[in-house]
C-alpha cells in the first residue's frame, strides 16, 4: 500500500507539471475558475485551443489506445494529469463528454470509416460531442425512451425530444438513443446513432436550472435525417451500446467534486464570532468540519480504490455507486450548515463576504442537482443493493411486454 507516486508516476507528474507551467497560468485560489468574464463562445473557443494543445502534447486522451489516437497511457496517468491540471487556470469540462464517453463509444461501435472521420477530430478539439439519452418520460428509466427512429432506405428519420443534454448548444455531434421498434420489449427496441447537432430539424433550448446555470438543454428533433452509416452497433442493439457508454461515464464521475469543502467551512468560521465566542471554538462547528472532511476525503479515497482497481487491470465495480451518495448528501449538509451558521447574513447572495461564501452558496444551490444527475440517490441505492449486495431486483411488470402496450 502506497499513496505516494511510484517512481514512474512521479516522473510522469513532473513531466506534466513542467508542461502545464510552460503552457498555462496556475490558479491562485481554490475557488478561482477559468473563463470568468468570457462569454460562451469565447470559452468554447478557448477550450478548443487548449484541447488542441493538449492533443499535441499527448494529454488529450491519455488512456486511449494508440490506434484510436490516444497516448496508450494508464488510468493513473490520466488521474495525475487531472490532479495537476486542476491547479491551473484552463478550460475544463467542455470536452469531458467527448473524450470520456462519446468518442470511446464511437471508436468501439462505429464502422472504420466513420471512426476515422470523427475520432481524430474529436481529440484535437475540432469536434465537440454530447450525449442524447434522457427524455421527459425516460429519466431514471432509460428504457422508457420514446424518440422515434424510422428507417427509410439508407436513412433514419428521427422525431422526438431529449432533455438534460449537457452542452448541446455548443456541440457538433452527439450520440443518440432512439426507439426503432415499438413491438419489442422496452430495452430491446432501441438503436444508437451518431447525430449531427447542426442538422436540419435539431432545435436546442437551454434548461434554466434552479441554480441559475444553463449547462443542460432540451433538444427537439423533427424529421432529422441520419444516414444508416452513422448507426452505432446493431439495429435494436442500442441498449448494449448505451451500457458500454455508461461504463465509461462511471469511470469519469466523481472527478469534479469539490475537494476542499472542510477548508471552506474553516475559512468562513475563522473570522467570525458565534454566540459570543470565536466560531471555530464551537464544538458544533468543529463537528461539521470533521464530518465535511469525512465525506470529502472519503470520496477521494473511494476514487483511489477505483483507480487502484484500474491500475491492477480490473474494472471498478458497482460499488463505486456509493461515491455520489456520499458526495451529494455531504455537499447539501455542509453547504447548508455553512449558510445557517451566519443566520440572516447567510441569505445574502454574491456578497462581500468573499469567494468562499459565494462558492458555498452556489454549492448549496447545485446540491439537489448533484443528487439527481447521473442517477438519483434512489437508483444508486438500488444498484448497490442489487449488484453489490446481491439482493433481489425490483418487481418489474414492464420488461417483457411490447413497448407500445405499456400503459403510459
Amino acid at each position: 500500500m502506497d499513496f505516494r507516486d511510484t517512481p514512474e508516476e512521479a516522473a510522469y507528474r513532473a513531466e506534466v507539471r513542467t508542461w502545464l507551467h510552460a503552457n498555462a497560468q496556475p490558479r491562485t485560489s481554490d475557488e478561482q475558475r477559468f473563463g470568468e468574464g468570457l462569454d460562451d463562445a469565447e470559452r468554447i473557443s478557448a477550450a478548443r485551443v487548449w484541447q488542441r494543445r493538449k492533443a499535441e502534447a499527448g494529454y488529450a486522451a491519455i488512456t486511449w489506445p494508440r490506434e484510436w489516437g490516444g497516448s496508450g497511457g494508464t488510468a493513473m496517468q490520466q488521474v495525475i494529469y487531472g490532479q495537476e491540471e486542476e491547479r491551473f487556470l484552463v478550460p475544463r469540462m467542455v470536452f469531458e463528454n467527448s473524450i470520456g464517453q462519446c468518442l470511446p463509444t464511437v471508436a468501439m461501435w462505429a464502422a472504420p470509416a466513420v471512426r476515422e472521420r470523427h475520432v481524430p477530430r474529436g481529440i484535437v478539439g475540432d469536434e465537440i460531442w454530447c450525449q442524447l439519452f434522457s427524455e421527459p418520460a425516460a429519466g431514471s428509466d432509460t428504457g422508457g425512451i420514446r424518440t422515434r427512429a424510422e428507417r427509410h432506405g439508407d436513412e433514419w428519420l428521427i422525431n422526438g425530444q431529449k432533455v438534460w443534454t449537457s452542452g448541446a448548444h455548443f456541440c457538433d455531434y452527439g450520440i443518440l438513443l432512439a426507439r426503432s421498434d415499438w413491438d419489442k420489449p422496452k430495452q430491446k427496441g432501441l438503436t444508437m446513432f451518431i447525430i449531427d447537432m447542426k442538422a436540419p430539424g435539431v432545435e436546442i433550448r437551454p434548461i434554466h436550472q434552479m441554480s441559475g446555470d444553463t449547462e443542460f438543454n432540451e433538444v427537439f428533433l423533427t424529421d432529422v435525417r441520419i444516414p444508416d452509416a452513422n448507426r452505432l452497433g446493431e439495429v435494436n442493439g442500442g441498449w448494449k451500446v448505451m451500457l458500454s457508454t455508461l461504463m465509461h461515464e462511471r469511470l469519469a464521475i466523481g472527478g469534479h467534486l469539490p475537494t476542499h469543502l472542510h477548508r471552506n467551512l474553516i475559512q468562513v468560521a475563522r473570522t467570525a464570532r458565534w454566540n459570543g465566542r470565536p466560531a471555530l471554538d464551537d464544538e458544533r462547528v468543529k463537528e461539521r468540519i470533521a464530518n465535511a472532511f469525512l465525506s470529502q476525503h472519503g470520496v477521494e479515497l473511494i476514487i483511489a480504490r477505483g483507480l487502484t482497481a484500474l491500475s491492477q487491470g480490473k474494472e471498478p465495480g458497482p460499488e463505486m455507486s456509493i461515491l455520489k451518495l456520499v458526495a451529494g448528501r455531504g455537499i447539501l449538509d455542509i453547504a447548508g450548515f455553512a449558510l445557517e451558521m451566519a443566520g440572516p447574513e447567510g441569505l445574502v447572495a454574491h456578497q462581500d463576504l468573499g469567494r468562499e461564501w459565494s462558492f458555498l452558496q452556489q454549492l448549496w444551490l447545485s446540491a439537489p442537482g448533484i443528487r439527481l444527475a447521473g442517477g438519483t440517490d434512489e437508483i444508486l441505492r438500488n444498484v448497490v443493493a442489487e449488484r453489490v449486495l446481491g439482493l433481489p431486483g425490483e418487481i418489474r411488470t414492464d420488461r417483457e411486454l411490447p413497448f407500445r402496450e405499456l400503459e403510459r
Binding site: 434552479m210 467570525a272 464570532r273 445557517e340 440572516p344 447567510g346 445574502v348 425490483e394 414492464d398
Partner: protein, 363 residues
C-alpha cells in the same frame, strides 16, 4: 385538554386559503422573483383588507382584535402559498414590538397605519452577537449607528424597528443618516435590504432592563408565527411531491409505489407533523402568554426549520430532474425554506436557546 384550533378559527383560515389560492399564484410569485415587483400588492391588499394580517392587533389600534391563534393559522396559509408579502416584517416583527413595548403615543401613531396597510414596517432583531464579523450597532443619547446587513422588505418600509444590544428603537427610513440599498438573497421572492445608520435620530421602544426581555418576547412570537409559515410550506411541498409521485411513471409503475419514495415521504410527513405539534404548542403558549413560551417558541422554530428545509430538498429529489428546473416551483419552496429558517437567526442559534432554557428549567 383541547389541543386544536376552533371551528371558527379554521373557517377563517379556509377563507384566507381560498383567497391565497386565487391570488398568490406561481405567476404572481414569479413577478417578484423576476424583480418586477417588491411584493404582491393584490395578496397584500387582500390580507390587510380581510383583517387577516392584523388579526392579533387589538381593535383600538385598528386591528381585528382576534388573537394569536388566528394569526398563526393565517401564517400557515401564507407559508403554504409562498405569499410574497411583508407579513412577517410588518406584523410578526414590527407590530409585535410596538404592541409589546411602545408607549401609548407610539402605538397610537403606528399601529393603526400598520394594521390598515398604509405603512409597511420592518425589523431586524436577530442578536448581532449570534454571528458577527463586524462591530455591533450602538444606540446612545437618542442616536443610532450601525449596519443591519439583512433587513426584510427594507426598501419598501416606512418604519424600521432595529436592535442595538438589547434595545429596540424606531427609525424613520427617510431620516438623515439612513442609507438603504437592496441586496440579492437566496430567496428573491422576499426582497431584503441592507440598512446603514450613521448617527441617526431614533426613538427607543423601551430602555434598560426591560429591553432584553422585550427582544426575547418579540423574537419568541415571531418564531412561533414563522414556524406556522414553515409548516404550511412544508405541508404543501409534500402534497405537491406526493401528487407528482402518483402521476409520474417509471419502470411501468407510479413512482409513488416504490417503497423508497413512499418511505421518504413518510419521513418528511413525520418531520412535518413533529414541527406542526411544536408549532401548535407554541401557538398555545403565545396565545395565553404562558411561562412555557421561550421553550415552546424555540422548539417550534427548530422543528419547523428542520422540517421545511428537508421537505423542500426532498421535494426536488422526488420530482427528479424536472424538479431542479427553474420552471417548476420546487425551488421556490427550497428558497423560502432557507429564508424563513434564517431570518431571525438559524436553527442552531435557536437550539442553543432551547437547550439553555431546558438546562435552567432542570436546575
Amino acid at each position: 385538554m383541547n389541543f386544536d384550533f376552533s371551528d371558527d378559527q379554521r373557517l377563517l383560515a379556509q377563507e384566507v386559503r381560498r383567497m391565497l389560492a386565487e391570488t398568490s399564484t406561481s405567476t404572481e410569485i414569479r413577478r417578484v422573483l423576476a424583480g418586477h415587483a417588491t411584493h404582491s400588492a393584490d395578496v397584500w391588499n387582500n390580507l390587510v383588507g380581510m383583517g387577516a394580517a392584523a388579526a392579533a392587533i387589538p381593535e383600538q389600534f385598528g386591528g381585528a382584535g382576534l388573537g394569536y391563534l388566528e394569526l398563526c393559522l393565517i401564517a400557515e396559509e401564507a407559508g403554504r402559498h409562498l405569499a410574497p408579502v411583508p407579513l412577517a416584517s410588518s406584523f410578526y416583527l414590527a407590530a409585535e414590538a410596538l404592541m409589546r413595548s411602545g408607549n401609548e403615543e407610539q402605538q397610537q401613531r403606528w399601529l393603526p397605519r400598520i394594521a390598515g396597510g398604509d405603512v409597511i414596517a420592518t425589523a431586524a432583531l436577530a442578536d448581532a452577537e449570534a454571528w458577527s464579523t463586524g462591530p455591533a450597532p450602538v444606540f446612545a443619547d437618542g442616536r443610532l449607528s450601525g449596519r443591519f446587513a439583512v433587513v426584510p422588505d427594507a426598501m419598501i418600509a416606512g418604519l424600521l424597528v432595529l436592535r442595538a444590544g438589547d434595545t429596540l428603537v424606531l427609525v424613520d427610513p427617510a431620516a438623515p443618516g439612513v442609507a438603504r440599498h437592496a441586496i440579492a438573497t437566496l430567496d428573491p421572492t422576499r426582497p431584503c435590504g441592507e440598512v446603514v445608520c450613521t448617527d441617526v435620530a431614533a426613538q427607543a421602544l423601551c430602555g434598560g432592563e426591560r429591553g432584553a426581555a422585550l427582544c426575547e418576547r418579540v423574537l419568541n412570537a415571531a418564531a412561533v408565527l414563522l414556524a406556522f409559515e414553515q409548516v404550511g410550506g412544508a405541508t404543501r411541498i409534500l402534497e405537491i411531491a406526493r401528487d407528482y409521485a402518483l402521476q409520474r411513471k417509471a419502470f411501468g409503475r407510479q413512482i409513488g409505489s416504490f417503497q423508497a419514495l413512499k418511505h421518504k415521504m413518510a419521513d418528511v410527513y413525520t418531520a412535518n407533523e413533529l414541527a406542526r405539534v411544536h408549532a401548535y404548542y407554541g401557538a398555545w403558549a403565545l396565545s395565553c402568554d404562558a411561562p412555557e413560551l421561550p421553550v415552546a417558541a424555540a422548539a417550534a422554530r427548530v422543528a419547523a426549520s428542520v422540517a421545511f428545509n428537508r421537505a423542500a430538498e426532498e421535494g426536488i429529489e422526488i420530482h427528479g430532474g424536472i424538479g431542479y428546473t427553474w420552471e417548476m416551483d420546487c425551488h421556490l419552496y427550497m428558497r423560502r425554506a432557507r429564508y424563513l429558517a434564517q431570518l431571525i437567526g438559524s436553527e442552531h442559534a435557536w437550539r442553543t436557546r432551547l437547550a439553555d432554557a431546558l438546562i435552567r428549567e432542570a436546575a
